[in-house]
């Protein structure tokens, strides 16, 4: 939970990740895809921050940029007191054991020509000087931890089911005792009955090893289950960030409200009675975002100011951050001050 007693483990400030658009024979730069545009948040030690949003909103890019799997355009990422983005390559390599990643597609992220033991043991080869026997002991320990049978150590990834493959990926991420793991849609490729197994495993590991997760997902119901705090992204920006219960019970950003209302409920009685907020149209291209608020083209409560000014990402209640003119205007009106909201 976001109580003040816990120390922040990861601080992200003004993170920007632009991908250049080039044209012509000389590959002249003609624009940017603003995949992540000025994102700031903090993750406290031992908590799970859920990062949700629709496909293409930049949530995966954000996770990768934090681990510097991409070179971010601007911003600052501090993990446990060390600046990840400013570190030279050699220092970055030394930092890698502390930050790991579980990838979305267990099929694509495991080398089909390596055995399970060599996949899980590869980080140990790279970052430790353990003997063969010690390595094997560690591999077996990791396999036990994620619920894989030790006898399968010499099998290849294709011999496993999707859920088991994801367990291999998790064991590999755990090999070096990391503090922080980015889980990039770890359950998206799995069946419903298998998803719960993997989510429970991630929670058990968090409790026993004191891990901190950035849990990226488009599945709002799973995020509600696993996350302590939740950030909602839209078109490269975080629009709302709050503790789980606040965000799900009383969402304040119109996009969060629409997103939550769009999730179907597995209950026919509730479902027929429920009034959905249906958003019009599609997400605009991040290469050409609208002027003002990014959500202004689809927002059901759009105001003239939304098409002009970009709303600032401000704390509207303790621990509740929001980027919306509607709430900021209301707050300003309530305070009865003529101050200019936002920037």
């Amino acid at each position: 939970m976001a109580d003040g007693t816990r120390a922040p483990l990861l601080e992200v400030e003004g993170l920007k990740m632009y991908f250049p658009i080039t044209a012509g024979v000389f590959r002249k730069k003609v624009g940017d895809v603003k995949a992540v545009d000025d994102v700031s948040f903090t993750i406290y030690e031992g908590e799970t921050l859920g990062l949700v949003g629709e496909s293409g909103c930049g949530k995966s890019t954000c996770g990768r940029a934090i681990l510097r799997l991409y070179e971010p355009t601007a911003g600052r990422v501090v993990l446990g007191g060390e600046d990840v983005l400013a570190a030279p390559a050699s220092e970055l390599r030394a930092m890698r054991p502390r930050m790991q990643m579980v990838f979305q597609d267990p099929q694509a992220s495991l080398n089909p020509r390596m055995t399970v033991a060599s996949i899980i043991g590869e980080p140990l080869d790279e970052h430790t000087t353990l003997s063969r026997a010690q390595k094997l002991a560690r591999i077996y320990e990791l396999m036990d931890k994620v619920g894989l049978n030790r006898d399968f150590a010499n099998r290849y990834p294709h011999e496993f089911s999707g859920g088991q493959r994801q367990r291999i990926g998790i064991a590999r991420a755990l090999a070096l005792n990391p503090k922080f793991i980015v889980c990039d849609e770890p359950i998206a490729a799995l069946d419903v009955s298998i998803q719960a197994q993997v989510v429970n495993l991630l929670e058990e590991l968090q409790d026993s090893l004191g891990l901190t997760y950035l849990f990226i997902s488009h599945d709002l119901s799973m995020v509600r289950h696993i996350a302590d705090r939740v950030a909602v992204m839209y078109l490269g920006r975080i629009v709302e960030l709050a503790s789980r219960d606040v965000l799900y019970d009383a969402p304040r950003h119109p996009y969060t409200q629409a997103l939550l209302s769009a999730v179907p409920e597995p209950d026919p009685n509730a479902e027929t009675a429920r009034q959905r907020i249906i958003l019009k149209g599609d997400v605009p291209s991040p290469a050409n975002p609208p002027k003002g608020c990014n959500f202004c083209t689809r927002c059901p409560k759009v105001m003239p100011v939304c098409r002009e000014l970009e709303p600032a990402f401000t704390e509207v209640a303790p621990g509740h951050f929001l980027a919306c003119h509607l709430i900021q205007e209301a707050a300003v009106g309530a305070a009865n001050s003529g101050a200019n909201p936002g920037r």
């Binding site: 419903v192 179907p264 409920e265 479902e271 997400v283």
Partner: protein, 357 residues
């Protein structure tokens, strides 16, 4: 379609129960011949579809839900697929015995199909207009000009703005949600009696999924065709279906009116599935319920309950025999030997089993 012919008396229930089904599937069996041996993907599946009804089909990947529907209208490549047994009655015709030409006449005006992934099922080198006109010209005998007018109407119907203009665009110029709307428009082009939608919203985002679900509800009221909706999302089923069919291991585990099945699930798999899925509203559980184990690989026709390895109410009979579907309520049946009301084995099913053996 004769709607008010024979009054088929079934145990009480819905008004629709009395109408003659538009589609009647009996004992369908589909296998795949692979290098590793035969895979029994669909095992003795029987169901029917009433006019105007929306039947939801739920199941995990590999449970045979898509294969069942594709076998119906001969969409599976053969080999490796082979429909071993069964009867599929549609419009007085057994679709499994039809010639390719007869089948071609059924696909489109009889049965429309919406595929899961609109990117791979639309042809990238033809305009959307061309792909919409094709069934209209082939099946409905329209001229190109007539087809053009109808194509525009169809795009309007599925809510694509600026339809006349968009007919000239190629699939890659549409977003995911818009492409799925195009797929729906193509499936609707010949005014089918039955529409089969194979995970039409799985590849889409939730806000776009909500748009498509609203569209389908709306189209159902306007056009009144029967729909089979395949999905793995119980929430989607809860919102749109009249009746739900839960599939597991190539068989129907449970079938019944949607409210009844969600309120009183009578198969352990359905029960577990409903408990596994977390919700965005209401109480939040501290720990997710899980279904331990893996779905079965169907190397042979099942001789025992396919769910027994993951079942919490398993007992000796489950290892010996494959439970048949037996009624557990009005229009509601389940393939299980366990009686959840009495917390004991079902006596009727056991007796039937003993008589068999």
């Amino acid at each position: 379609m004769p709607r008010k012919t024979v009054q088929k008396q079934k145990t009480g229930g819905l008004m629709r129960d009395r109408a003659q089904p538009v589609l009647e599937v009996t004992n369908l069996k589909t296998i795949f011949r692979t290098r590793g041996g035969e895979v029994h993907a669909v095992n003795s599946v029987s169901f029917d579809l009433k006019p105007g009804e929306l039947l939801g089909v739920v199941g995990e990947s590999g449970s045979g839900k898509s294969v069942t529907m594709m076998s119906l209208i001969g969409l599976l490549p053969s080999p490796p697929a082979e429909v071993r047994e069964g009867r599929v009655m549609f419009d007085g015709l057994d679709l499994l015995k039809c010639t390719p030409a007869q089948l071609r006449a059924v696909r489109g005006p009889g049965v429309g199909f919406i595929f899961q992934d609109p990117m791979t099922s639309l042809n990238p080198v033809f305009t959307v207009g061309y792909q919409l006109r094709e069934p209209l010209i082939k099946h409905m005998g329209m001229t190109k000009a007539q087809a053009q007018v109808r194509a525009k109407e169809l795009l309007d119907l599925v809510g694509i703005p600026d339809a006349a203009q968009r007919l000239r665009d190629y699939p890659h110029q549409f977003s995911g949600g818009m492409r799925q709307r195009v797929m729906i428009a193509i499936a609707l082009a010949c005014d089918p009696k039955v529409l089969i939608a194979d995970e039409p919203t799985t590849a889409l985002d939730v806000t776009i999924q909500a748009q498509i679900l609203e569209l389908v509800k709306d189209l159902r009221q306007k056009l009144g065709m029967a729909i089979v909706w395949i999905t793995h999302d119980l929430g989607v089923i809860a919102g749109i279906a009249d009746r739900v069919m839960v599939m597991y291991g190539g068989q129907i585990a449970e079938q019944g009116p949607v409210k009844e099945v969600f309120a009183r699930p009578r198969h352990p798999y359905t029960r577990a599935l409903l408990q596994t899925v977390p919700s965005v509203r209401g109480e939040r559980a501290d720990k997710l319920n899980v279904i331990e184990g893996q779905p079965p690989i169907l190397r042979a026709a099942p001789t025992a309950c396919p769910f027994r390895d993951r079942c919490t109410t398993r007992f000796e009979t489950c290892d010996r025999a494959n439970p048949a579907r037996s009624p557990v309520g009005p229009g509601h049946d389940a393939a299980c030997f366990w009686d959840f009301d009495a917390s004991a084995p079902r006596t009727d099913a056991l007796i039937k089993e003993a008589a068999h053996g």
